[in-house]
């Protein structure tokens, strides 16, 4: 719906996020973060094509609202775990494009000093705990970090992003059980993008609703539109409140979509053009700014400027990564043990 803002004193129409107490700065940052992730990864794809980036490279493009909306709701002393599709969440958490691009390039200046690559971004000073490559392997780690903060009397929460296919792994169920049994302040955000590699969820999972995997444990659970940064933020706020104040864990299914293949090497022929186009109509990077304009929070001009700034930032990051040195050979034997 389109409408002009009016100066009347009669109760005027409110934006749908009015109840969330978000400042314009916060709203703008959410959009900027999504756009930054989009641009960063578009460029990463190009650099991968040029052979500047090696190994596996999984793009987040299409899922930006999930990570940005969720992470915007966190505090600095909260923790984040994710899988190998980790660029978006790292940037949303405030890691610099430079250290991230440098990591993709396998350089000493990377966020993991070139030891991890695309799948293994880390900045534990920001509570960004990675960046893990074994499907379903990191949820227990996240529950463990939640265990530790509770143990130490802190009120931090730990967020664990995982794909829908990862929920079939047994250890995830072991983790759900202990998280609920021991009341751990952990929030599992299952990014349901419909596919695990080339396998549609319906071919890999019995049952109706993904979030009902938490039903047997009577864990707080639900689904949210992961293409909507505001809805993500709203649901996360609720889950965070439960975790922070009552140590109640949550399983949140975020319904989202990745526009690209599973990784750079996947042509993604298992999906129809139509399906992809359907989702692109709801692209948060396209739709959210329209709302911000509509409510007078941003102008077209602001947005163009923002995009230019971001592209410049990406360019700088690439130049930085290019210019950075490879890790010294001695580093091969460092970091195995403390």
């Amino acid at each position: 719906m389109m409408m002009k803002k009016e100066k009347s004193h009669t109760n005027k129409p409110q934006p749908r996020w009015a109840d969330l107490g978000l400042t314009n700065e916060q709203l703008i940052k959410m959009y900027r973060d999504m756009l930054a992730i989009r641009r960063f990864e578009e460029r990463a794809a190009q650099e991968y094509g040029k052979g500047k980036i090696g190994g596996f490279c999984h793009l987040y493009i299409g899922q930006e609202a999930t990570g940005v909306g969720a992470i915007a709701a966190l505090r600095d002393d909260d923790f984040i775990y994710t899988a190998y599709r980790d660029h978006g969440q790292a940037l949303a958490r405030g890691m610099s494009m430079k250290e991230c691009m440098a990591e993709l390039f396998g350089k000493a200046t990377g966020c993991s000093k070139g030891m991890g690559g695309s799948m293994h971004f880390y900045d534990i000073s920001k509570g960004f705990m990675g960046g893990w490559g074994i499907v379903g392997g990191h949820p227990p780690l996240a529950a463990g970090t939640a265990f530790a903060t509770k143990y130490q009397g802190r009120d931090s929460v730990t967020v664990c992003f995982l794909g829908e296919a990862a929920t079939n792994q047994g250890v995830f169920h072991e983790t759900l059980n202990m998280a609920e049994l021991w009341k751990l302040p952990v929030i599992f955000i299952c990014e349901n993008n419909g596919y695990g590699m080339g396998t549609a969820i319906s071919r890999a999972m019995a049952g109706e609703n993904l979030y009902d995997k938490a039903a047997g444990y009577l864990m707080n659970r639900g689904a949210v539109n992961g293409m909507d940064v505001i809805e993500m933020y709203r649901e996360m706020k609720k889950a965070i409140h439960l975790a922070r104040t009552e140590f109640k864990p949550t399983f949140l299914e975020a319904r989202t979509y990745r526009y690209r293949g599973h990784s750079m090497s996947d042509p993604g022929q298992y999906r129809t053009k139509e399906e992809i186009e359907e989702y692109k109509k709801r692209d948060p990077v396209e739709t959210f700014p329209k709302e911000l304009i509509q409510w007078g929070i941003l102008t077209e001009a602001d947005i163009e400027k923002m995009d230019e700034d971001i592209r410049a930032e990406v360019q700088e990051a690439v130049e930085f990564a290019d210019a950075s040195p490879q890790p010294p050979l001695e580093q091969l034997y460092e970091y195995v043990y403390v």
Binding site: G54, G55, F56, E103, G106, K107, A108, S112, G114, M115, G116, G117, M119, H120, W132, G133, I134, V135, G136, A165, A166, N168, Q169, G170, V171, G196, M197, G198, T199, R203, A204, M205, Y270, Q326, P327, L329, Q331, L332, Y333, V336
Partner: protein
């Protein structure tokens, strides 16, 4: 003879055995509709359908166990379980080590366990620590398992056909980087027995022992050494458990010098076992202690220069050969 890639040779072996025995089926992640993460199962789903080419959820322990249970049924079902890579098979180690490897023994010989676990093993390129592990030493440590590691299209096809027909659990380890390697494969059927090694290059001055990817590294080194007048023999055990000890010892008796090349970690590895057997069973024939080249004793780094520094190379093999030759 046809020239095939290793991926095609493996594909042929699976297809032929599925044709030959309706009890043979293959299951794993992305093996069917996606034609395999590395296209090894290309076309099999189209050809054999949903019943015999099965995409699984990402549950390595679960579908490994289902494969084992299907084999245990003893009604002519012979599963081939593809592990997208062996790094992920670690999640199924309980099923493989505690169940597949022990069912026959614990039951006093009642069970047969006709199952093959196959997939790529070892470092590929810049996949970093969780995706670059060569785990043959852990598998070969376990009695009850057979471990096969082909290095050519010819070997891959003949060995896999044997593995599929065998009534024991067979660990069949391939390599991403080798799937594209080409070689001659006969049109007519042939089988390569379990436990039979192969001399990849005859030589007299030094024995280089290698398997899978490392055979190519060894042959490159041998070609270089040739130029310097050093005539290296390159032997490939092909099966790591049981080992073709005779082939190894005979070669050592001829050359009196040994270099072992493997891309796994060095500590308590298959190469260590081979060296131990040579040191104890050919002690008097050795003119120098066995040299062993491994990947560095570290988790694999992502950075290209560090990975290259870590893995075995022809240069490192040449240096080791010169060391055992006291050159």
């Amino acid at each position: 003879m046809a020239i095939l890639q290793i991926r095609e040779a493996i594909n042929q072996a699976i297809a032929e055995e599925m044709e030959r025995d309706p009890g043979v089926f293959i299951m794993g992640e992305e093996v069917a509709q996606y034609n395999g993460a590395y296209k090894v199962t290309q076309g099999l789903w189209k050809r054999f359908g949903d019943k015999r080419v099965i995409d699984t959820p990402i549950t390595e322990a679960g579908f490994a166990g289902i494969g084992i249970g299907a084999a245990l049924a003893g009604i002519g079902v012979r599963p081939i379980v593809e592990m997208m890579t062996w790094n992920f098979a670690i999640l199924a180690f309980d099923q493989i080590i505690n169940h597949a490897a022990k069912a026959r023994y614990m039951s006093g010989g009642q069970f047969k366990v006709p199952i093959v676990f196959r997939g790529p093993n070892g470092p590929a390129h810049m996949l970093s620590a969780q995706h670059s592990q060569a785990l043959e030493s852990m598998m070969a440590h376990v009695p009850g398992l057979i471990v096969m590691t082909p290095s050519t299209p010819y070997d891959a096809k003949g060995m896999l056909k044997t593995a599929i027909r065998d009534d024991n659990p067979v660990i069949f380890m391939e390599s991403e980087l080798m799937y594209g390697i080409k070689g001659e494969v006969p049109e007519e059927e042939y089988l390569i027995p379990i436990g039979k090694g192969d001399i990849k290059r005859e030589g007299t001055d030094v024995t280089i022992i290698a398997w899978t990817k490392m055979v190519a590294v060894a042959l490159k080194a041998a070609a270089e050494l040739e130029k310097e007048g050093i005539n290296a023999e390159v032997i490939d055990p092909r099966t790591l458990r049981p080992l073709d000890e005779d082939m190894i010892i005979n070669s050592v008796k001829k050359t009196n010098r040994v270099v072992i090349v493997e891309d796994s970690w060095p500590f308590a590895s298959v190469g260590t076992e081979i060296a131990f057997r040579i040191h104890t069973k050919a002690f008097d024939y050795l003119d120098a202690p066995v040299e062993k080249i491994n990947s560095a004793d570290v988790p694999m780094p992502y950075a290209e220069n560090l990975e290259n520094e870590s893995i075995p190379s022809p240069g490192k093999v040449i240096a080791a050969v010169k060391k055992v030759l006291y050159r």
